[in-house]
Every structure is written in structure tokens, then in C-alpha cells.
């Protein structure tokens, strides 16, 4: 968080309404999101209690485990969940486009992809644990489960992993996405409460947002008072209907909030790079769907040495790219860099479009642009610069003095003797330059897992899901 966001929070507190910290939306919103509000039995790692889910706001599905301590009922619940989720996921696999790849075979990419929306980070964590507790199950053997359950586990695992992938929109946590776009007048910790955060954004803080009687927690944990006074007696009564109705009271308010949150986000125009990131999501989804279709094994319990390093490299690149894209897409995000002196914006007061360096054959076109800015520029001369106005362009800071900054354009002005039209900004144009650039080196290769070196424990044992995975009791 930066001083800019802090100021927005102060302003929100003072005015009693959340303040924007983004001018565009930085996540993709599906036309048909799968809203998923799961609840967990208190005291258990991953014992499901209920979930409200669906892609139609008027027709939520409520799935309940009427006796949460009963293992068979839990798996029956998982099968029901699979019955809703898997057809939804599979509905995106049919329509694909063929994508050519440099130095690789063309591949099929889904035209659209599923999007799972959970209330908060707790919802993501619970999704991950549900995935972990179901993907190794087997439909045969001593503890058989319905066939769809292990498949559900793999998809839940996939969705939870994508939630940790920077810039991915396949899985969204509502509080996180809202928090990326609005600053409330409360702490980040309190923003974890969906009811409270939505209230801040829509009509201002409400005391009752923290009252579990008015706004039940958005899960996966339930309110202890509800557990003691409503749920426990309902379960003891043996009436599935009472349990279901009790849990409906806890889920329905959150269900409405979830769609309200999506509406709020939909009110913002998508950022310029959102589609590009969604394209990567679609590619990732297609790869996962293919792996499932080909009968690949479930995701291992934990990453091996090589897989961990590969995933880290992917995530670091995605994180860096996401940060750059957000700043380039959104002047309010870029303002954070302007505030710290890593970017500056202003009006072009002078240009030398045909400036060149060197003579004869080594003569290089290096147009100069002078910008008048109010921003504090803390970049040393020679810093490589990029600009959101012309994303293919590269520049270099020549000097910064008394609010006047001279920039030399080094890339993206054409190959001619003079700069291509439009590549050099005109006098009077407002421009922004930043040291934040999207030039990332590819990362070098990794050994094959079978060639894991001795420093990292040597080649791992081949992972074969064994009976132990399948038989792990679900207490």
C-alpha cells in the first residue's frame, strides 16, 4: 500500500464512503461466472457443511450436508457439487480457436473459460482444501466415492492454484477484487468482511455489517453463535429440512452480496490489458482440460524441486507483468509510481524529432522530447523508460532539472531517417514516462525432474497416487 492509497482511505473515513483507487477494472468478468459460497464445519480442516452456488443470480443452488459428521453424506455432497460444477466447466471446452506458436505446434485454446467467484481468501483456501481432500479419492477399492468426486477435486485444486497466480481471473475472491478498486475507511483486515466492504462502497459504513445476526459471515467459517444456537439443535433434530433452512439463512445474504460485488466491478470499464491476461487464462484452462481429458494424474500433494522452481519463475514473471500492466492501464495506479519518483507525467513543451547520434553508418535516430512536469523525478540519467501512451516505445532519461525532463526515444519510432508520424509526441500533448517497463527476459530452462541434481535431493521417486491417498479417512 502506498501513501496514495492511505490518503484514499483517510478520505473515505472522513467522507463516510469508499474512494476509488482504480479508474479501470483490472480483472476480467465472465458473462457467466460461477458464484461459489462454501461453508465449513467449525473445528474441521475441510469438512463441508454447505455451499450456495450457481451462475444465475436468481437461481442459486443450495447444497447441504445434513449430518456433517457423516463421511458418506460428505461425499454425497461432493458428488452433488461435482454435478453442478463439472458441467459448468465442461461447457467451455467445446468452442476453441487454433493458436499458432513460435517454435511449437499449434494448440487449441478455449474461446471462453469458466470463472469461479468466492467471497474472500478464506473461500479460496477452503476450495484448495476441498480439492486436496477429494482429488486422490477412487471410485473403486475400500473407500469408494462417486466417480465425479476425484475429478471435482482436480478442478477445485486448479481453481485454487489459479487464484494464487498473479493477474489471473479464473478464480476471484470478491473482497480482494473490491479492495483492488476501492479504498474503504477501515483497515485492510476489516476489509476481509464482505458485507462491511460492500457497505463502504455503496452507502457507507454500517455497524450491523459486523453483526452476524444481520450479516452472517461470508464463510467458510460460520458464526459460533449460529453453530451453538441454531445449527447444532437442527442437526440433532435429525431433520434435514431444518438444517437446510438454517444454512440457507447463513448463505442467502452473502449470495446477494456476491452479485452486488460483481455488479460494482462491472460498473468499471476493463483495463486495456485485461483481455490479454484473460487470453492466458483461457490457454491455461485449455491445457488443464486437456490434461484431464488425456487421463493425466491428479496434481501431486506438493511441488517437486523442479516443478517448484518452474512455478516460481512463472509466477514471478506474471507478477512483474501484472504490475506493469496495471500501471500502464490505469493512471491512478501509475500515480503511485509518480509519487515515489519512478514515473512522471506532464506536457510536452519541446521536441527534436530528427535528433540523431553518431555519424554515417552508425548514425542512430534518437528523437528528443522535453516534458514539463510537477512530479518529483528521482530517476538518474540513463534510466530506461517506457510510456503507456506508446507501449511499443522505449526511451532513456537524459536529464531532469527544475520540472523539465528530457527524454530520448530509443525504440519504436520507425526505421526511417526521421521518426515515423505519431511516434514522437507533439508539443502540448500530455505524456507519462516511467522506469517501470515490461521488458522481461525469458527464464532459462530447468532440468527435467528425473535429472534433479544432488544438491536438491536427486531424482524424485516417480509419483504414483497410491492406496494411501485414496484411503485417507475423511473423519
Amino acid at each position: 500500500m502506498s501513501l496514495l492509497t492511505s490518503l484514499a482511505r483517510l478520505r473515505a473515513l472522513d467522507e463516510g464512503i469508499a474512494q476509488p483507487v482504480a479508474t479501470v477494472r483490472h480483472c476480467h468478468l465472465s458473462a457467466r461466472p460461477m458464484v461459489f459460497v462454501p461453508l465449513r464445519l467449525s473445528g474441521e480442516a475441510a469438512a463441508p457443511l454447505a455451499a450456495m452456488l450457481g451462475d444465475d443470480r436468481d437461481r442459486p443452488r443450495l447444497l447441504v450436508v445434513p449430518q456433517p459428521r457423516n463421511r458418506d453424506l460428505r461425499f454425497a455432497w461432493a458428488a452433488e457439487l461435482a454435478g453442478v460444477l463439472l458441467p459448468y466447466v465442461e461447457s467451455f471446452t467445446a468452442d476453441t480457436e487454433t493458436v499458432e506458436r513460435r517454435g511449437g505446434d499449434p494448440y487449441e485454446r478455449a474461446l471462453d473459460a469458466p470463472q469461479l467467484v468466492v467471497p474472500n481468501t478464506g473461500g479460496v483456501a477452503f476450495t484448495r482444501l476441498l480439492g486436496r481432500s477429494t482429488r486422490f479419492r477412487r471410485a473403486d477399492g475400500p473407500y469408494p466415492v462417486p466417480e465425479s468426486v476425484p475429478l471435482l477435486g482436480r478442478w477445485l485444486t486448479y481453481f485454487a492454484e489459479r487464484a494464487a497466480y498473479p493477474g489471473s481471473s479464473l478464480t476471484l475472491a470478491a473482497t480482494e477484487e473490491l479492495g483492488r478498486h476501492w479504498a474503504s475507511g477501515q483497515s485492510g483486515l476489516e476489509d476481509g468482511n464482505l458485507a462491511s466492504l460492500v457497505a463502504w462502497i455503496t452507502e457507507g459504513p454500517r455497524e450491523e455489517a459486523e453483526d452476524p445476526l444481520v450479516w452472517p459471515p461470508a464463510g467458510p467459517a460460520t458464526d459460533p453463535g449460529f453453530d451453538a444456537e441454531v445449527l447444532a439443535p437442527a442437526i440433532d433434530s435429525g431433520s434435514a429440512e431444518r438444517v437446510t433452512e438454517a444454512l440457507r439463512t447463513q448463505l442467502a445474504p452473502t449470495w446477494r452480496l456476491m452479485w452486488q460485488a460483481l455488479d460494482l466491478l462491472a460498473g468499471l470499464e476493463p483495463g486495456a490489458s485485461v483481455a490479454q491476461r484473460w487470453e492466458q487464462d483461457r490457454a491455461s484452462f485449455s491445457a488443464m482440460a486437456e490434461s484431464v481429458a488425456e487421463g493425466g494424474p491428479p496434481q501431486p500433494r506438493r511441488d517437486g524441486a523442479v516443478a517448484a522452481a518452474a512455478r516460481l519463475a512463472r509466477m514471478e514473471r506474471a507478477q512483474a507483468a501484472y504490475e506493469v500492466q496495471r500501471a500502464y492501464d490505469d493512471p491512478l495506479v501509475m500515480a503511485e509510481y509518480r509519487l515515489t519518483g519512478e514515473a512522471f507525467a506532464g506536457e510536452v513543451v519541446e521536441t527534436v524529432p530528427d535528433n540523431a547520434e553518431g555519424e554515417g553508418r552508425s548514425r542512430k535516430l534518437r528523437p528528443l522530447v522535453v516534458i514539463k512536469t510537477d512530479d518529483p523525478v528521482l530517476l538518474p540519467p540513463g534510466t530506461a523508460l517506457g510510456t503507456p501512451e506508446r507501449r511499443a516505445q522505449g526511451g532513456e532519461l537524459v536529464e531532469a532539472h527544475e520540472g523539465l525532463v528530457t527524454v530520448k526515444i530509443t525504440k519504436g519510432m520507425g526505421r526511417g531517417k526521421t521518426a515515423a508520424p505519431g511516434t514522437v509526441p507533439d508539443v502540448g500533448e500530455r505524456v507519462c514516462y516511467t522506469s517501470l517497463t515490461g521488458d522481461f527476459q525469458g527464464s532459462p530452462g530447468l532440468p527435467d525432474a528425473e535429472a534433479t541434481p544432488w544438491t536438491h535431493g536427486g531424482p524424485p521417486q516417480q509419483y504414483v497416487p497410491d492406496d494411501e491417498d485414496a484411503q485417507e479417512e475423511w473423519s
Binding site: P166, A305, A308, A309, L312, E316, G445, L446, T455, H456
Partner: protein, 443 residues
């Protein structure tokens, strides 16, 4: 020290001479697949690397050396050629790298972007990043320098290139980090965010770990402080005696707090210039000015440093200013220091050495400390770059901040606890500095 003697950390054991340690290391090399040498600040790590390189090259088997930055690589090349002019060295680099003139002057050195371009030198040396692009060849020997600052995923990329390796580094400095959350790998023996040495030793717990026992950089005034605060279980001593390092200020002082702080530092090796207590923004202007003024006065008063290397003036290039954050560095640079003075963050000062350092205390002016500010490696780097004196600038109130610091660190199962604890290390250093305090008046 409140922590118990650690299990799993090297036992202090009988004191060895540095020469003995080096001999032991060289003797161990053929006996083990890997050998680790812990080197506290200025303990002759580079000397060891150069010695080991020559020793291995003498066997006639090719050697690869891995360092972390281009600067470190160039330094090593120069040192190796200087000590062992008969050796041929290939300096492997990325395309964008322009070798500094000092390298081009060396006869035995060839620079290239591909191994094939280097001829067949005794030693090939490059950064870990560059090595990661090299394949299809295996060296019988490798030396990995600054191995504690190297992330284990980098080691994973290059470990296939060598049969055996010597790992050298300083365990007390900053740990490697990532911009993404690495919790999903915590507890794994191959956690990619752990240092190369941690992962190496978790998989190969029987490898010998040696320790260089003597800091040649830190003076007798600093070694015990740094050793106690940052190396509580292993310890080291200074190579020079109490009177072997002297610093004198040629011109007299004006009695200002800054001058008095410099005098205290010249006399005792340490000074804490304490500004009035106030919570400030990170780029505390008063503190920035104090740092700049200290540097300016140090130059004006013409400090002369006397040591086992003789007498020499403390010129601007022998002075460094260190801070925790980049914006602080930018603010200090903007305060008008001579460009020859190095101003940088702790991260970038790692492995460097100066006569005098001026440090903006990471906790100065803060109301709360974060894990970043308390990280022991950060303070360790800042407090162990100097051969003569270290002047710390801080607002009063750090003791209270430490006292009020809430402790709610998460615990990851299966992750060895790292010592020293940042809080304890900060406390130890602060306690020492308080004995060298000069209070600045307001304004």
C-alpha cells in the same frame, strides 16, 4: 543472549587459525561432493575463493566459478589474474554486458557470450544467471561465491553443470527474496525461496561446514559487536588488535553534534548521532541532512586512516552511506553529496568494503517496525562494511519501538528457525550504540 545454544548450528569448537581453516577446506575438497565455508564480514572470502581456484586449477581439471553479480564476477577475475597471472580465465557474459577497462587490460582473460568463444581456459567464470543458460557440458569442479545470497532455484538450474563444488558465503547477510508469496513451498527441503546453502545442506546434511574465524575488515572495535549480535552461535574475531586501526581528523571540530559524532567515531569506531524523537516519513529530511552533513564534514576535516596497510586519507570513494529503502537513498543522493561517495541500500552494499560508513538506521523515526525493518541481515550489512568507523544516524525512540513491538510471527512447520532473531540483533546493536551517543539539538 537469551537463546539457548542452538542445536544443529555449528559448534564453536576450538579456535583455528585462518590458514588452518583454508588448509582444511582444500583438504576436504576431494573428499566430499560439496564443501561449505561460512564467512563473516571481511573474513577473506575472496582470498579463499582465489586460493581454492588456483589450487583446483593446479590439478589440471577445469573449474567453473559462479558469482551473483557482474561486479562480483569482474572483481574475482581481477583478483585471480593478479595473484595467479599464469592462469587463463574465460569470462562468460550476457550480450548486453560491456566489460570494464580493468578487465580488458588483463592478458589471460577472454570475454565471450558462449563457452566456445573462450578457448579452453583453466577457469570459466560467470554470474549464476548466465550459467543457467549454459548446457551440454560438465565441469569436475565449481566454486559458488555468495552462496547464501543465491536462491536455491538458481542453484537448481546450474547444479547439473558440475560434479563437486565449494560453496562460500556469509550467512549473516540478507536472505534472498521473491516478489511472490512462497508459502506454498514452505517446509519443503527444496523450497526455491531458501538460499542455495540451506537447500544443499538439507539434502546433504553430512557435508563439511567450515568457518573463517577472523575478520580482516572489521576493526577490533566492531568485530565483537557484530559477532555477538549477528553470529551468536558461531562467532569470529578481528584480525587486527585494538590499536592497529586508527583514524584521525586533521582539522579541528566546531563542537557541533555532527563534529562530535565524527570525533567519537574516530576515537571508538562507532557513533550514534541521535536526533530528537519524532515519528517521521521514511525520507526524514532532518535525518537526510544530518547524513549529508556528516559526510561533508568528514571530507572537510580530512580524515586519515592508519592501519596495517599504512596511512591513507579517507577520500570520498572510501566512504559509503547506507539506508534501508530506495527512496531514502534517492533523497540522500539528492542532498548534494560528492558523486564519489557510494550511497545505496543494504541489499546493494552486500559484499562491499569502505573505510567509513554512515548509516541511516532502518528504524529511525518509525512508530512500528515490520519484518523488513527488523530483518537482522539488513542491519548486519549496514553495520559491517567499515574498516575504521561506522556512524549511525537515528531518531531517539528506537528502544521504545523495540519494546512495544508486537510479536505475532507465523510459524511454518518444518522450516528451521533462523538465528539471530531480528529483534534481538537490533537490541544488541542499539545497546552498543547507546554507549557512543551524541545528541543533536533540534534544528
Amino acid at each position: 543472549m537469551t537463546a539457548d545454544p542452538g542445536t544443529g548450528s555449528p559448534e564453536p569448537g576450538p579456535e583455528h587459525s585462518p590458514e588452518q581453516v583454508i588448509a582444511d577446506v582444500l583438504a576436504d575438497l576431494p573428499r566430499h561432493r560439496g564443501v561449505v565455508v561460512d564467512s563473516p564480514p571481511g573474513a577473506g572470502k575472496s582470498t579463499l575463493v582465489v586460493r581454492a581456484a588456483a589450487h583446483l586449477a593446479a590439478t589440471g581439471e577445469p573449474l567453473m566459478i559462479v558469482a551473483q553479480t557482474n561486479e562480483q564476477v569482474d572483481d574475482l577475475v581481477v583478483r585471480i589474474c593478479d595473484k595467479h597471472p599464469h592462469l587463463t580465465v574465460g569470462r562468460l557474459s550476457a550480450g548486453a554486458y560491456a566489460p570494464p577497462p580493468r578487465l580488458l587490460e588483463l592478458a589471460g582473460v577472454r570475454v565471450g557470450t558462449r563457452v566456445q568463444d573462450l578457448g579452453d581456459p583453466d577457469i570459466v567464470i560467470a554470474t549464476a544467471d548466465k550459467w543457467a543458460w549454459i548446457g551440454d557440458r560438465k565441469w569436475p569442479w565449481a566454486i559458488v561465491d555468495e552462496a547464501y545470497q543465491m536462491r536455491s532455484d538458481k542453484l537448481l538450474r546450474i547444479a547439473g553443470l558440475f560434479e563437486r563444488a565449494l560453496f562460500v558465503g556469509d550467512p549473516g547477510q540478507l536472505d534472498p527474496f521473491s516478489i511472490v508469496d512462497g508459502d506454498r513451498w514452505s517446509g519443503l527441503s527444496w523450497d526455491p525461496l531458501q538460499s542455495a546453502v540451506s537447500v544443499l545442506l538439507r539434502h546433504n546434511p553430512d557435508l563439511p561446514v567450515h568457518r573463517l574465524p577472523v575478520s580482516w575488515r572489521l576493526p577490533a572495535t566492531a568485530a565483537p559487536v557484530v559477532s555477538r549480535a549477528f553470529y551468536p552461535f558461531t562467532g569470529f574475531r578481528s584480525g587486527t588488535g585494538p590499536d592497529e586501526r586508527r583514524m584521525e581528523l586533521v582539522t579541528g571540530g566546531l563542537g557541533t553534534p555532527h563534529d562530535r559524532a565524527l570525533e567519537e567515531a574516530a576515537r571508538s569506531g562507532w557513533a550514534l548521532l541521535e536526533l530528537p524523537e519524532r515519528h517521521t516519513v521514511r525520507t526524514d529530511g532532518e535525518a537526510v541532512r544530518a547524513v549529508a552533513l556528516l559526510a561533508e564534514r568528514l571530507l572537510q576535516r580530512g580524515a586519515v586512516a592508519g592501519s596495517e596497510q599504512g596511512e591513507r586519507p579517507v577520500t570520498a570513494d572510501r566512504i559509503a552511506v547506507g539506508a534501508a529503502h530506495r527512496d531514502q537513498v534517492a533523497a540522500i543522493r539528492a542532498a548534494g553529496l560528492p558523486p564519489e561517495i557510494t550511497v545505496d541500500t543494504a541489499n546493494r552494499l552486500q559484499g562491499r568494503e569502505y573505510d567509513v560508513t554512515i548509516v541511516l538506521h532502518p528504524l529511525s523515526g518509525r512508530r512500528d517496525a515490520t519484518a523488513f525493518h527488523l530483518e537482522s541481515g539488513r542491519l548486519c550489512v549496514l553495520a559491517s562494511r567499515h574498516r575504521h568507523a561506522c556512524v549511525v544516524v537515528a531518531r531517539a525512540g528506537i528502544a521504545e519501538l523495540l519494546d512495544a513491538h508486537p510479536s505475532a510471527e507465523p510459524v511454518q512447520l518444518g522450516v528451521p528457525v533462523k538465528f539471530p532473531d531480528g529483534w534481538e540483533a537490533n537490541q544488541a546493536v542499539l545497546e552498543h550504540l547507546s554507549r557512543h551517543r551524541v545528541r543533536a539539538d533540534r534544528g
